[in-house]
């Protein structure tokens, strides 16, 4: 899966869970500061990402994933 495909899939998840339009989900965005996503929604996003990409994101890793690019990198590296 290319980074572009991961980004598109992630944007779809974030739209569904947090209502952020897909075109606003760009790599440099910070989940908390830019996309207004709280920790509970981050858990939902991580679980949905696990289903979509087949990559488990452990809790201790999740707290270090601050930006959209961080998640794309994590998925890309572990898939």
């Amino acid at each position: 899966m290319t980074d572009q495909e991961i980004l598109a899939g992630l944007a779809e998840i974030i739209d569904e869970i947090a209502g952020v339009p897909a075109d606003e989900v760009t790599p440099e965005k910070n989940f908390v500061d830019d996309l207004d996503i709280d920790s509970l929604s981050m858990v939902e996003i991580a679980v949905a990402a696990q289903d979509k990409f087949g990559v488990e994101i452990p809790d201790e890793q999740l707290k270090d994933l601050k930006t959209v690019q961080d998640v794309v990198n994590f998925v890309s590296k572990n898939s």
């Binding site: 869970i17 947090a18 209502g19 509970l40 929604s41 858990v43 939902e44 679980v47």
Partner: protein, 430 residues
Amino acid sequence: MSNNDQAIVVVTGLGATTPLGGDVASTWSAMLAGTSGVQRLTESWVDTLPVKIAAPAAADPVAVVGRVQARRMDRCEQFALVAAREAWADAGSPTVEPYRLGVAVSSGIGGIGSTITAYDTLRERGWDRISPYTVPMLMPNGAAGWISIELGAKAGAHALVSACASGAESIGYGIDMIRSGRADVVVAGGTEAAIMALNVGAFAAMRAMSTRNDEPSRASRPFDKGRDGFVLGEGAGVLILESLPHALARGARIYAVAAGAGYSADAFHISHGSPDGGGVSFAMSAALKNAAVSPAQVTHVNAHATSTPEGDPLEARAIETVFGDSSSSVVVSATKSMTGHLLGGAGAIESVASVKALTDRVAPPTINLDDLDDEVTISVATKSTPLAPHPGVDGPMAVLNNAFGFGGHNVALVFTEYVPPAPEGSAEEG
């Protein structure tokens, strides 16, 4: 400004979403027209249950709160937020110092739909697939929390839980918050969303519900000889309560005075009312005393009357006890005949109806009352009935709303017409 003024609490906003309509105006006009909100349910789970009817909300709350916020909120929380937004806008969206704005909104059961969904998810897919929002969705104080966040209400957000008296008890608590000086404005009410298999099955197991499945609109029939139990409804009602000085200072439109509340506990049985109605009449008398209103001022009672064989005559006896000789001139309405029983939302939407009855001077009908129970000798309105102050009675016209809950909780609320102060110069300065 005297201390007495500060103790006066007025109603400056109303909100409701009910089986009859998505707001107060549509609910009230359907009520006056004698419309039933009860229908045959089409969900497949009714196949296994003896009860196949209910009164679902007329408007989908998701359409109002929005998809993303709705997925973090139980349906009962969504209803409460919808009603709170309407009430707040109706009150003119006042600017209130955050620590002077409170919330008292509850439900009888809490987010039972979310609890059931989460348990299904737990069993079928495991703990890590449960929504991380499940706890705030199932807690019965969730609605109060969401409303406080929405409005920035920091004086305290409370959820008074007393089964089907919860909504009324919350309004009583809201009155007290203002009287005790904790708040200038309180968003108060109740909500419920419990039309699902577990709850219907559980109430059916108590033999508490109507099984008149073939005639849904005729099933809820308080005080009628043919009544066979209550019909479950859903929705929410919210009042904006405000101290009179605060309301006057901002030029608010005043619907009524939230004059007082009275409470009692039957201390008898966990789900049966005390047959002598003593607890119920005590709560009504206590509310009148708390409101400094004489029984003769009361022209209308919105009864709790749920259409159960046992409960309705008990309340009727209590109304007779409290109003004595004047009970025949009190117009009693049982609006659950149209809305079904909203449990924790009941006392709240019926308080909205009571305030509307007072301001429009008309009592809504009790539908399906074809054959009055022989034990019931009070005057139950079968059609919309004009209200007028009883001749020769001092003090403003008053209405009373009853709400009782399993556990033995009895709550009565009294609302009176607001009489503006005499023009300046015509009264002595205090």
